[in-house]
């Protein structure tokens, strides 16, 4: 067990070192706060892989689609009836999110899940998850120009956003994200506080 962990760590360090090289040569503009002593590219990238598993689960990716129509269901298929993102991410005309999605989940399978703030990212900041590699997503999340103008503090706080937390209250018949909320939040904080490093790929 210890041995394995050690190997993993070694491997992680190597990956992370490669990662750091790539990161430094990339357009990565997020400057990690905190002292150099808290930075650990290996730990950070590993933590992000956990975060990534959650962000790519249907509960998150479904509202971070590559196109302008949200996804739905466990297979992340295009949302029936093709509701459009709209400028503010809240839908358009007669097809606004809140026309069906209430403030709370409704009982029963296939009923629209609810949240008081149900929406997609806005058109000028689409924050696409769908199809992104871990590295692409990490870079996107750390860049204020692509993460909704979030600095480190706001990024840390985002784990407490009601819609993010709502992923763990998905409504009847929907799977939970692969990590518990506590595990996710811990991984999210670890990723950011250890430097918000992007994995190599």
């Amino acid at each position: 067990m210890k041995q394995a962990t050690l190997h993993a760590r070694k491997a992680g360090v190597i990956i992370a070192l490669l990662g750091v090289v790539v990161v430094l040569s990339s357009s990565f503009r997020y400057v990690p706060h905190g002292s150099a002593s808290t930075r650990d590219s290996a730990v950070s990238a590993q933590a992000f892989m956990k975060v990534y598993s959650v962000l790519m689960s249907p509960r998150c990716v479904n509202c971070h689609p590559a196109g302008d129509v949200p996804l739905q269901g466990e297979l992340s298929q295009p949302h029936a009836m093709s509701p459009q993102r709209g400028d503010d991410g809240k839908g358009v005309y007669a097809m606004k999110c809140a026309n069906c999605h209430q403030a709370v989940n409704l009982p029963g399978p296939h009923m629209p899940p609810g949240n008081p703030n149900w929406h997609l990212p806005p058109a000028n900041m689409k924050m696409v998850f769908q199809g992104k590699t871990p590295r692409e997503l990490a870079l996107q999340l750390t860049n204020p120009a692509t993460n909704g103008n979030k600095d480190k503090k706001k990024l840390l706080e985002h784990a407490d956003d009601g819609l993010v937390v709502g992923g763990w209250n998905p409504g009847e018949g929907r799977a939970l994200p692969p990590l518990s909320y506590a595990e996710f939040k811990k991984a999210w904080r670890t990723w950011i506080e250890t430097g918000a490093y992007a994995p190599a790929k």
Partner: protein, 723 residues
């Protein structure tokens, strides 16, 4: 202004109570032409105004108001418009001033009322024309007698009789009492088609106004004083019985008052369920969700979709089945060999899924039974309920409302029967509302059918054409018919092919399951058409012929040739460009032939898209061209859904699609293309309109896809995105 609402239906009820259902008035129906000399005069709602029943379809009151009864169901296809439009033409009344009321179920008075087989106009127009003309002539005769002038000098227009030389005028209300006492003429002069002012014109539908402001009353909208609401949990395996149930949670739902076991007739069997009675629809539905029912599912097969098609196709590989029709000897030709085509087509089970889920109100009162609902066959329902509920037929009153879609499902007798059983049990009027899930998972369905089609192609033509189908037969519910070939096996196939090809046979390889099945818009033509018209296309390819020219070669009747010419002309068939796929199909059902050409191409995203659909309808004599266009447009959209979007599947005897999230529907974004409908003008007898536009679409589409891509689709539904 025409109305169909609470007030008029109530008034109608009052009238019938007073007049008696037998209606001893002047009944001019051709079905039952016995004439009484004195019309029934009753007091109607207006004070001091008498309402006179000129005949079963026409009432005129003494203030001049004309009421025309629509004896058929209005489910979108336009009976509520067509029936009065025909009568008003010969009666000489303005359609927008007529009161239109749905007739109650009464076969003796109206003839068959089952609104199926696209039969409303084609089955009753001659009668409606004659009774309209007869009533008009009697009103003219009454005026002539009053004025002491020859009837020939008088004419009728806009519900008035005019004396041309004298410049005198009387409205129908002033004449109706004396007219009703006259002997009805045996022969009346009817108008020439060229003189029609209403028939053949694209008049606006009289129900549109009611359907744009929420005032049209559908079955689900009807309210009866003291009415309870019910929701019923029925066996999800479509048969079987209730072993036990636990209603403790149900009885705690606010508004729920009672839970009872019920059974309803499904063809020749009964289905059991547990009914939750409540004071609102929602409370009943909530109570139903809280029920725990244990079912006895023994004694019948729990089938899955893959088993269905496996068994059908195994049978088609080895069995000849029951011969329905044979011309020449196709087997002998096939045995000789040569260029033999031998392919299998497969079509899915489909749900009607009317937008208005099934519902029905029943009020059982011992010696009297009254029903209100979206009902396609009120006379059938009357017969059936009289027998099942033990109430004399003349005391069973069936009231039609508007139907929020029908497509065949609402001609079925189960849901009115179930409502009656519940009303009897609780001793109160009750409305049973089926949830969307109930409606979608309980059937009956259009049967899924496999076809084996064989042909021999030689000398640029068809030497033999042999078809076997295997799929559930709507007639086989009656056990006695299970040894007879399904009479619908050749439905959709154009009749001239038989003699022109010379060696043709159609057989039915019987196939049964416990799944209840039922007519679905255009019935077997909806699936046959896909197989047979795809096969003709495959034959054309094998024969090296243009698909339309091959059809012209065999469809030698002048009427069909003209229709083919029209299809060629409007679709630009001869000017097809590279990178465009064109497909054609022609089918016949209910005495109308429809040809369609579909044009497809690849969009910017590389996916195949439909660019245009041209339809040419030949339904002979017709009433309202705009209704025909609308019906063909709608049929094409419905056919698109059945061909490319949805299907009903079974797993272990359970239906897998419960609501529109799984049984997806075409939406407006799926129909960006234009549908262009042309109507042939000729003097042939009237054919059907509501259904014949559906069958040719799927094969025209898949033939077009073949033309574009070289890929032949033999199984429906298919996904347009994966071609």
């Amino acid at each position: 202004m025409s109305q169909q609402n609470e007030a008029t239906t109530t008034s109608r009820r009052n009238f019938l109570k007073t007049a008696g259902i037998a209606g001893s008035g002047l009944c001019l129906a051709l079905y039952f032409p016995s004439l009484a000399k004195a019309a029934k005069i009753v007091n109607a709602d207006e004070g001091g105004v008498d309402d006179v029943e000129m005949n079963a379809w026409v009432h005129i009151n003494t203030s001049g108001k004309v009421t025309i009864f629509c004896h058929r169901a209005e489910m979108g296809q336009g009976a509520y418009q067509a029936v009065p439009q025909i009568v008003a033409e010969e009666l000489e009344v303005d359609l927008d001033k007529v009161n239109i009321v749905f007739a109650q179920g009464n076969r003796k008075k109206y003839g068959g009322q089952v609104t199926g087989g696209s039969s409303t106009v084609r089955g009753s127009y001659k009668n409606l024309l004659k009774l309209g003309a007869t009533a008009r002539e009697m009103l003219i005769a009454a005026a002539a007698a009053r004025w002491g002038v020859p009837a020939a000098e008088c004419f009728a227009a806009s519900a008035q009789v005019h004396h041309r030389p004298g410049g005198k005028t009387l409205h129908y209300g002033e004449l109706v009492v004396s007219a009703s006492k006259m002997e009805a003429p045996k022969e009346v002069k009817q108008k020439a088609r060229a003189d029609y002012k209403l028939i053949g014109k694209p008049l606006k539908r009289q129900d549109t106004v009611l359907k744009t402001n929420g005032t049209a009353i559908f079955g689900i909208d009807k309210k009866i004083p003291g009415m309870k609401y019910a929701a019923v949990e029925r066996n999800p395996r479509l048969r079987g019985t209730v072993k036990s149930y636990d209603d403790s949670a149900t009885m705690r739902v606010p508004g729920v008052t009672k839970v009872i076991k019920v059974k309803m007739a499904v063809f020749n069997t009964y289905r059991e369920g547990v009914a939750v009675i409540a004071n609102s629809t929602w409370a009943a539905m909530q109570g139903k969700k809280a029920l725990k029912v244990e079912w006895d599912d023994s004694g019948f097969e729990h089938i899955s979709t893959e088993d269905i098609y496996k068994r059908q196709q195994e049978d088609l590989a080895t069995k000849e089945g029951l011969l329905l029709k044979k011309v020449g000897d196709p087997d002998a030709v096939i045995k000789k060999g040569g260029k033999v085509l031998d392919v299998v087509y497969q079509t899915p089970y489909q749900s009607h899924s009317c937008m208005e889920p099934l519902n029905c109100i029943a009020h059982y009162q011992g010696d009297k039974l009254e029903v209100w609902g979206p009902i396609q066959g009120p006379d059938w329902v009357q017969d059936f309920l009289s027998k099942e509920m033990g109430v004399a037929k003349e005391n069973v009153f069936i009231n039609m409302t508007f139907l929020g879609g029908g497509f065949g499902r609402k001609a079925f007798l189960d849901y009115p029967h179930e409502a009656c059983v519940i009303s009897k049990e609780i001793g109160a009027p009750v409305q049973v509302v089926w949830s969307r899930e109930d409606d979608m998972t309980q059937g009956p369905y259009r049967p899924g059918v496999s076809y084996r089609c064989e042909a021999v192609v030689a000398n640029g033509g068809i030497e033999a054409f042999k078809v076997r189908m295997s799929g559930q037969n709507t007639d086989h519910w009656d056990a006695e018919k299970s040894t007879k070939a399904n009479g619908s096996t050749s439905e959709g196939f154009l009749k001239p092919y038989f003699e022109a090809i010379g060696n043709v046979s159609f057989s039915d390889v019987p196939f049964e399951t416990p799944i209840p099945i039922m007519w679905w818009r255009s019935v077997y033509a909806s699936t046959n058409g896909f197989a047979y018209e795809s096969f003709i296309d495959e034959i054309a390819l094998a024969a090296g012929k243009d698909p339309l020219e091959l059809r012209r070669q065999y469809l030698k009747e002048d009427r069909i040739r003209k229709q083919i010419d029209k299809l060629v002309e409007v679709s630009g068939w001869k000017n097809r460009k590279k990178n465009e796929g064109y497909g054609v199909a022609m089918t016949e059902c209910f005495n109308s032939t429809v040809g369609q050409v579909v044009k497809v191409s690849r969009g910017a995203n590389g996916k195949v898209k439909i660019d245009h659909v041209w339809a040419v309808m030949d339904c002979g004599w017709y009433v309202n061209p705009d209704t025909i266009r609308a019906q063909v447009e709608g049929s094409i959209v419905m056919a698109l859904g059945a061909a490319t979007i949805h299907e009903i599947t079974f797993k272990d005897g359970l239906v897998e699609q419960k609501n529109f999230y799984a049984y997806k529907m075409p939406r407006i974004s799926d129909i960006p293309f234009e549908i262009e409908v042309h109507i042939m003008d000729n003097d042939a007898a009237a054919g059907g309109v509501g259904e014949p536009g559906l069958p040719p679409f799927a094969p025209a589409l898949t033939n077009a896809i073949f033309d574009l891509t070289g890929s032949r689709i033999r199984k429906l539904p298919f996904d347009m995105n994966t071609i």
